[in-house]
Structures are given as structure tokens and as C-alpha cells.
């Protein structure tokens, strides 16, 4: 691990009139005012100093994810029918069921991956958006770390979707019970996908732009 020493008086590429290619890292000069339509001369990727409309787009996706989160939590994710008795479970009642049957480790995995992680990710994005909009110059490094965390943890929320898929595959082939995926599976998958895109739409360079002004 080597930290690069030679920062040139804290100048960002944008201030120096340069733009770094997001794909191959080559630096190009920004020509004119409209630097949105430039192409990287080496690899052909389109060049953006900052992601287009980052804040508005991230807000839109964050709000959409909050909306999807409600039916994902309230509606049943599995319907189990066994010998004429049927039972619907939401994500939360599934967690409670695991605790009651003594598998608290599994309960913890599902609780963290399905309930804590999506909420935490959304609240972190809200905090980053508000702090950037208020032009905060505090705790930039911590905010950069929070952003990296949201990119890293988002995928783990898919666990519950996979559990339902595997249960359906195995149990329906047998004879003891029938398991159907409930409507929450769709909304929960939507929450995961929309938050992944929300984190991508956010441009972490906006956090540091206040320092450079």
C-alpha cells in the first residue's frame, strides 16, 4: 500500500482544466465550455468532469427506493402451504421464526442483509446528498469512506431473494409442502437494484469540490 505523495497543491483535475477518463485514467484537456460530449482520445469512453445531474438523479432513485421499501417489508415474501394449512411470512416474521427455532445466527444474517443494509445505505446517501447540497467542508474523508461502504455492501441485500429461490426450487420438487414467492420478493428486489443504481449515480467528487473552491 503506497500513498501517492505528490499532490500538486490540492488542485483537482477540473480546476486544472483537465478531465480524467473514468475508464482508462488518461487525462485530457477540457476544450470550451461544453465538456460533456468529449470522448477519451485513447479508449473512446465519453468524458465527464462530474457525473451529469448527479444530485437530482440520486435523489430520485433514493426516494423511489424508500417507496419500494414499504411493500417489501409489509407484504409476504413467502407463502408456505403444508397439508392444507397455509402461512404467509414477511421478511421480518421470517427473522422472528429463525430466532424462535434457535438459529439466531441465521436470523442475524437475514436481519442485517435485508433490513439494516438497505436502510443504512439509503440514509447514508441522503446524508451525502444533503451535505453536498449544503456545501459542507467537514469530515470529507469520512464521507468518502461512507460512500465506499454503500458501494460495497449493497449487493449483500440480495441474500433473501436467493434464499427464497432455493427454497422454492427444493421444496416444490418434494412432497412435504408448497412454497410460493410472495409479492414482497418483487419489491425487495426492486429496492436492491434501485439503491445500487442510486449509489452509482452519486458522484463522490462532489464531496471534495468545496475544498477546492
Amino acid at each position: 500500500m503506497t500513498r501517492l505523495p505528490g499532490s500538486i497543491e490540492n488542485v483537482s483535475a477540473m480546476q486544472a482544466g483537465l478531465v480524467g477518463c473514468h475508464s482508462c485514467d488518461l487525462l485530457s484537456k477540457i476544450k470550451g465550455n461544453d465538456h460533456q460530449m468529449l470522448q477519451c482520445p485513447r479508449c473512446g469512453a465519453s468524458l465527464h468532469s462530474r457525473k451529469t445531474n448527479s444530485i437530482a438523479r440520486t435523489w430520485a432513485l433514493v426516494i423511489a427506493a424508500f417507496i419500494f421499501y414499504v411493500p417489501a417489508m409489509v407484504l409476504p415474501i413467502t407463502n408456505v402451504s403444508s397439508l392444507g394449512v397455509s402461512q404467509s411470512d414477511t421478511i421480518m416474521s421470517g427473522v422472528v421464526l429463525f430466532i424462535q427455532t434457535g438459529s439466531w445466527e441465521i436470523a442475524l444474517v437475514i436481519f442485517v442483509a435485508s433490513i439494516i443494509v438497505p436502510m443504512m445505505k439509503l440514509f447514508i446517501l441522503v446524508y451525502l446528498l444533503i451535505s453536498v447540497q449544503q456545501k459542507s467542508d467537514k469530515r470529507m474523508r469520512d464521507r468518502a469512506k461512507l460512500y465506499r461502504l454503500t458501494e460495497f455492501v449493497g449487493r449483500w441485500s440480495m441474500v433473501d431473494i436467493y434464499v427464497v429461490t432455493i427454497l422454492i426450487a427444493l421444496v416444490n420438487l418434494g412432497v412435504i409442502a408448497d412454497i410460493d414467492a410472495g409479492p414482497a420478493a418483487f419489491y425487495f428486489a426492486a429496492v436492491v437494484i434501485v439503491t445500487i443504481f442510486a449509489a452509482r449515480m452519486f458522484d463522490p467528487r462532489l464531496i471534495w469540490d468545496e475544498m477546492n473552491d
Binding site: 500538486i8 482508462c24 436467493y162
Partner: protein
């Protein structure tokens, strides 16, 4: 001396050459900027060939066998997604197939497509697009999350029946390790440095 802009905070910094097996971090925000990976191309090719073999095993052989009251049922990786599809949840089924079958397969094939020709000093057709697609597929490959899903499902089902892990399960575990190692063996600089440099670019003189 050439310059690099941090992709996470846009700080301009001077590139330095790195000792083997180390990575350069942004001096301001700490993002990883580039790495020095010894034998990057050989490693990438070897791991993607291993990945292809493991991928085929993971999809052809039964994943789990489920034994209850003398009956035995086998499930493959795809049968779960097919069951979801039959229940009318084609969106979720599509997502499962994309993240656990299509994305890993695309990742393996793109790694071979880009790095086998590079091994012989050639650039394949549309390298830049293929490389960007590879990066995208790495993001959507969620097989390690699927593995945790399997473990959770197993705990839920062991009370109802006897579960026997199949050959595909072991191949799948191997695939996770091989693809993670393969993704971190890739040195993007090796690809981009094959592209023609334009001398008038700032910071490259």
C-alpha cells in the same frame, strides 16, 4: 513524470512506479488508484480457464439432493429460477439468472476474449468496449451472495429433510474463489497502455 486524477475525489497527483504486489492510494481520499500485479496476464488467463471449467461443472451437475421419506429430489442451479418463472415472477427469476449465471459466464468469457490475445501481444476487436463490459459484469456477478443464500436455505431445510450437497456445490465454491482472484489479477494499465498514446495529452510527456 505523468499525472493521474483520482476517480473518487478528482485530485491531481503524480504517478510513481510501484514495487511488485503493491497498490497506490489517493493521498487525499484513500481510493485505490492503480496496482502493480506481477504476471497479471498469465494469472488472469489461468484463472479464467479454471473458472470456465468450474462454471460448466456448477451448472451441469446437481446442486443439492433433497431426501424426504425415501424420496430423493435433485435441484440444479437453474431450477430455482425456473420455478420462480413458473410462479409468474419472471422479473425476479431474470434477476437471479442474470446475477448468478449470465454475469459470471460473461465475466469469464470476456476475460478470455481480452487476455488470451494480449498474452500473444495482440489486441482483440473492440477491446475498450469489451473491457468496460467486463467491469460491468464484475459488478453484477453476485455468486458469493448466492452462496450465503444457500447456507441460509440449508439451515431452514435440514429440519425437514436430509440435504446432500452435490458436485455443483463444490464447483460453485471454487468458482467464487477463482473469479474473485481473477478479478483482482486484472491490471487495467496493461490493457490501456497497448492503445496508442497521443503525445499532446497533458501529463504524458
Amino acid at each position: 513524470m505523468s499525472l493521474i486524477a483520482c476517480h473518487e475525489c478528482d485530485l491531481l497527483q503524480q504517478r510513481i512506479s510501484l514495487p511488485a504486489k503493491s497498490k497506490a492510494q489517493c493521498g487525499r481520499c484513500g481510493a485505490v488508484l492503480y496496482r502493480n500485479i506481477p504476471n497479471s496476464i498469465d494469472r488472469t488467463v489461468a484463472l479464467s480457464i479454471a473458472g470456465l471449467v468450474l462454471f460448466i461443472c456448477a451448472n451441469v451437475f446437481p446442486f443439492l439432493a433433497f431426501e424426504v421419506s425415501g424420496q430423493s429430489v435433485q435441484a440444479t442451479l437453474l431450477s430455482g429460477a425456473v420455478a420462480l418463472y413458473k410462479q409468474g415472477m419472471w422479473e425476479v427469476a431474470g434477476l437471479v439468472i442474470f446475477t448468478c449465471v449470465a454475469a459470471p459466464l460473461a465475466q469469464i468469457l470476456l476475460m478470455l476474449y481480452i487476455f488470451v490475445p494480449l498474452k500473444f501481444n495482440r489486441l482483440p476487436y473492440a477491446t475498450a468496449k469489451a473491457f468496460r463490459l467486463l467491469r460491468e459484469m464484475q459488478n453484477w456477478n453476485m455468486i458469493e451472495v448466492f452462496m450465503v443464500g444457500i447456507l441460509v436455505a440449508l439451515v431452514k431445510l435440514t429440519k425437514m429433510a436430509v440435504i446432500v450437497p452435490g458436485l455443483a456445490m463444490w464447483s460453485f465454491m471454487g468458482l467464487i474463489i477463482v473469479l474473485t482472484a481473477g478479478a483482482s489479477a486484472i491490471d487495467p494499465e496493461l490493457v490501456w497502455n497497448r492503445f496508442g498514446f497521443k503525445k499532446e495529452q497533458p501529463g504524458n510527456d
